[in-house]
Symmetry: C2
Subunit: 107 residues, 2 copies
């Protein structure tokens, strides 16, 4: 396989992976409404704060989030609104996904 395409697929997969977890999806959704600090996101997710911090770090590293420190808080925000389209696409797939019984067609 073409090594360039291999690299590109790897990069894309890494970025997609950074969203491929229920807590991270939830975080992304929350941030589409505006920036939040770690505590608030921790309340939302309902996991240990260290776990949430690690999720945020994964999302930041991948490019989905940026962060700004103000006082004691780190405020995370979404870098691109395109994420919302991303979710619309995913929800569409969910509608056509085979739920044990076969179904057809899509958009």
């Amino acid at each position: 396989m073409n090594p360039q395409i291999e690299t590109r697929s790897k990069i894309r997969a890494d970025i997609i992976k950074a969203l491929a977890h229920p807590s991270r999806v939830l975080i992304a959704e929350a941030l589409s409404d505006g920036e939040r600090c770690v505590q608030d996101l921790t309340k939302l997710v309902g996991a240990d704060i260290s776990t949430v911090s690690k999720h945020l770090s994964i999302m930041k590293k991948s490019g989905w989030l940026e962060v700004e420190k103000r006082g004691l808080n780190q405020f995370y925000r979404l870098r691109c609104p395109c994420l919302l389209e991303f979710f619309r696409c995913v929800d569409l797939i969910n509608q056509v996904r085979p739920k044990n019984i076969e179904n057809q067609g899509c958009c």
Copy 2:
């Protein structure tokens, strides 16, 4: 946390997870150009055919792919063209992703 939202995040994460692997990204990209059988995708990916078959099964179960049998072959195809937008979004994130050195802004 609201259990409905929890469920929805889980569903979304499962669908996203079905793309979160370099081989599956590559497969998705190839299929955006039209249906392919397992052998062809195996050549493309360069893994064992049983591995590729399992990737395809994950993608099918999640709703991304559908399959049609003709003769000895199983032809897989993309269910929704929205996947291509999905990748455009991902590539955009890659452009703004921090590559060790900090960078700013986006779309």
